[in-house]
Subunit: 328 residues, 2 copies
Amino acid sequence: MKHGGDLTEAIARHGGDPGSWLDLSTGINPWPWPIPQHLPDHAWRRLPSRAESEALLEAARKTYGVPAGAGIAAASGTQALIQLLPYLAAPGPVAIVGPTYGEHALACRNAGHPVIAIDDLAACPADAVHAVVVNPNNPDGRATDRAVLTRIAARLKERGGWLVVDEAFADVDPAISAVALCPDWPIVILRSFGKFYGLAGLRLGFAIGAPDIIARIAEALGPWPCSGPALLIGTAALGDQAWADHARGTLEQQARKLDQVLAKAGFGIAGGTPLFRLARHPDAQKLHAALARRHIWCRRFDWAGDLLRFGLPPDAAGLDRLAAALSD
Amino acid sequence: MKHGGDLTEAIARHGGDPGSWLDLSTGINPWPWPIPQHLPDHAWRRLPSRAESEALLEAARKTYGVPAGAGIAAASGTQALIQLLPYLAAPGPVAIVGPTYGEHALACRNAGHPVIAIDDLAACPADAVHAVVVNPNNPDGRATDRAVLTRIAARLKERGGWLVVDEAFADVDPAISAVALCPDWPIVILRSFGKFYGLAGLRLGFAIGAPDIIARIAEALGPWPCSGPALLIGTAALGDQAWADHARGTLEQQARKLDQVLAKAGFGIAGGTPLFRLARHPDAQKLHAALARRHIWCRRFDWAGDLLRFGLPPDAAGLDRLAAALSD
């Protein structure tokens, strides 16, 4: 399984339909920001306007705490930015802190950059022109210290390189964000809208960085990278601070409940964020198969046979269903 | 005005609000395919699945008549593909048949390709590695003959180049499409969903071409380039042949009515497609300003002072309002 969140393969192997599965294979908030029942017609019909784009970026600047000396650009999902950045970055090897989200390495290689796998940003080698770190990391939740980010960014700057900090899961702990470093260093921060706001199908994400880097990204994205609904919904959701505060509390509480169920089933909690838990079990592969037969889909990894990643069940019934399946 | 369809500038200069303006600056069908009142929650919440993407591509294959020997990829609008192609194409100059949609030249230059402006594809020079033709052309509606497309594609093939055929407005006359040539030549065809289906805010477009070229494009787009709503709405709309047949009739009829109004005001019809009309008038610039003061927004061009482009007014009242403003 290359990605979570796609039941196509699970259903092909084990039957059922999307509604009958308990999909725990993603890190997407199962309690989304409540989109309006009816969007204005023009959101679908007209090309998004400059005024709408600017309103979105303004809301994102506030929510993400983007300093005045940094730029921000919106795209149809951070994945679109992950795909694009390697074409814009100077040639040269990219050090990627792993194990992590696999698409960074794929996109770098596709665009012709050699990839150097490292297990700690502090150990970024001298021949790396660029570096990528997911912070907090997926799937283990590891945080990279701001002093390390600054030190490596300073080194890469000398080499004409960029430090890409993928903050896809930083909304659950905004203090982790490195946005404050953007005006001073060649850091490109990626922020995902869909995960924390529970609206992954909307496709919305942001790049934050020094103004010259962001201008280059915006130019390469071209006009209208985001849909009309993404602009309207993104602007409203990012402006809803009360919802975000409440969501952080809910996610933490539900993550603790999930941990209890996993611990009771003999898992050791190996890491994660409040949006997903990484759990270790000697029989992880057997358990993955047993859960799949009961139409519960979690995430496994080709680099660790004893680890599974679980997203949050959307309700008490889902948590009970997981607990029952694990105790069988 | 760089693009039509954005009233931000018009409102800044002349006041009013988006609802009070008659926006004739685009080539977007003002009678859109009727989207459902309520989309299923999962379209917004989950990552689009492989099954949903395949259903969209299958519907697009049928509607666009894509031969079995060609590939197809979906993106969040053809603009996203216009931005991407120059990064994937072999280095070298790009001949662009103009005057035409300005973003092709911009995107090519941004990605480092020299641009050669030509006024006829048949005159594609020997030093061009690639060529771009919009067919039918925007804004004049000129069609490029299939024999010419084939001849130039054959020459570019020898140079390792691509012929990009932007069929953004081909839905109004499907017989014009060059999809049948894709299996044999290095042709990349771009199809826009939003214009003919009247849903430009959805952001959906397609690239069609030889399987190896399309595989390269799909790889560079990465996973989930389209939103959940775009997949669902696109699949349903592209499968609605009865709507498309009816829309073609409506657009032709309304374009004739618009021509009558323009002719009565002293314009000569210089070209266009049923989605927009290009009209010539010695006082075009004055008329553009006079219409803007009455909050009617049409498109002018920096390369021709006597031409204006008009999209279709959405109803009889809009047409009457245009006629009245032009007769003042």
